[in-house]
Symmetry: C2
Subunit: 199 residues, 2 copies
């Protein structure tokens, strides 16, 4: 099949998907052509539809199909809490935990000077506009616990107005984690961040 231009074009594009290498791009293409032909136009249409309809929420940057995402248009959420995350995947993870009922702001990335990602790429305008909304009490920075995530949280905390609390999600031993297998950095953080038993 190395001679078929349509096949080559398809595998070349599939290879750009995350987790898909040269071998699996071929496997996917053959599987579609030999066993799941009906899936091909359906997937093509779904890609087109998602490309056309999915956009950013004008308030929090989350992916959605309307002007405002489901969370921003939900009147039951606590508007005084704002949780800053790097991506919609992180937002989904926090929602699944069931431990949070406030608003979000999705950065769609983190500061990374080496990759050329500066503050202007993190939708600072939208972020400061959200910070200016009345009634805000606390901004919780839930960026990843990586160098870039920490730097991004530090940088953005500078925009939080006086009188509004800035917090960072806790770092420590994961639930069910055994001290023996936890890395030293995490263990150090967990000791520094210890809390009174009464709490």
């Amino acid at each position: 099949m190395s001679e078929s231009p349509s096949f080559t074009a398809l595998t070349r594009l599939l290879r750009r998907l995350p987790g898909v290498g040269p071998r699996s791009s071929q496997r996917i293409a053959y599987d579609l052509l030999m066993r799941k032909r009906e899936l091909m136009p359906a997937l093509a249409m779904a890609l087109q539809a998602a490309h056309e309809h999915i956009r950013s929420c004008s308030r929090c940057n989350n992916l959605c199909e309307a002007e405002l995402c489901a969370i921003c248009s939900d009147t039951q959420r606590q508007r005084e809490l704002l949780c800053v995350v790097e991506s919609p995947v992180d937002l989904a993870a926090i929602e699944e935990s069931g431990a949070y009922g406030g608003d979000y702001f999705v950065l769609m990335g983190h500061l990374s000077p080496l990759d050329g990602i500066g503050p202007e790429d993190l939708h600072i305008d939208r972020f400061t506009a959200r910070l200016a909304e009345p009634g805000l009490r606390e901004v919780i920075f839930a960026t990843n616990s990586t160098l870039e995530g920490e730097a991004t949280a530090q940088f953005l905390a500078g925009y939080v107005p006086a009188g509004v609390r800035s917090s960072r999600i806790a770092r420590g031993i994961p639930m069910g984690g055994e001290l023996e297998y936890v890395d030293r950095g995490t263990l150090g953080r967990a000791l520094l961040g210890r809390r009174d038993l009464e709490e």
Copy 2:
């Protein structure tokens, strides 16, 4: 994003690709929407084009874009040799080995009564038509070394006309393989299939 119908539709279809589970379908969809938007219409078009243009070679069943595949229309190939494989992937693997210069017949599967795949699904008509072409000397069965592959080879060998040799690719120790780590079935096969050193 659980509320977006386009997103749900896209991840549901992606999940049907081989090697893509619920988590990676989400990862692919988010990656496309957040970082590779330009890839979405391109991939949709490539899927449509492959779906429209790629068909089966009318002679050997291989996937191609014309009436005959590149191998069947290549006048330099040895028409007296016919190698029977289960899929175009196997054909590509044999071509890459550089050890074969004859024709192929691609079954697009193997006999599997449990999955409802009977002889009629293996393009027997096309196979017997190919066997009837003049000048054929040998049919090499290169189906997989699995129960189904063996049964398929045995079954199809019954169609090979008298005077035409039927052969099976050799089973044995893989190149570079150490006896210590080879399974007993393969080792038994390798002993039974031993050949004189002079050869």
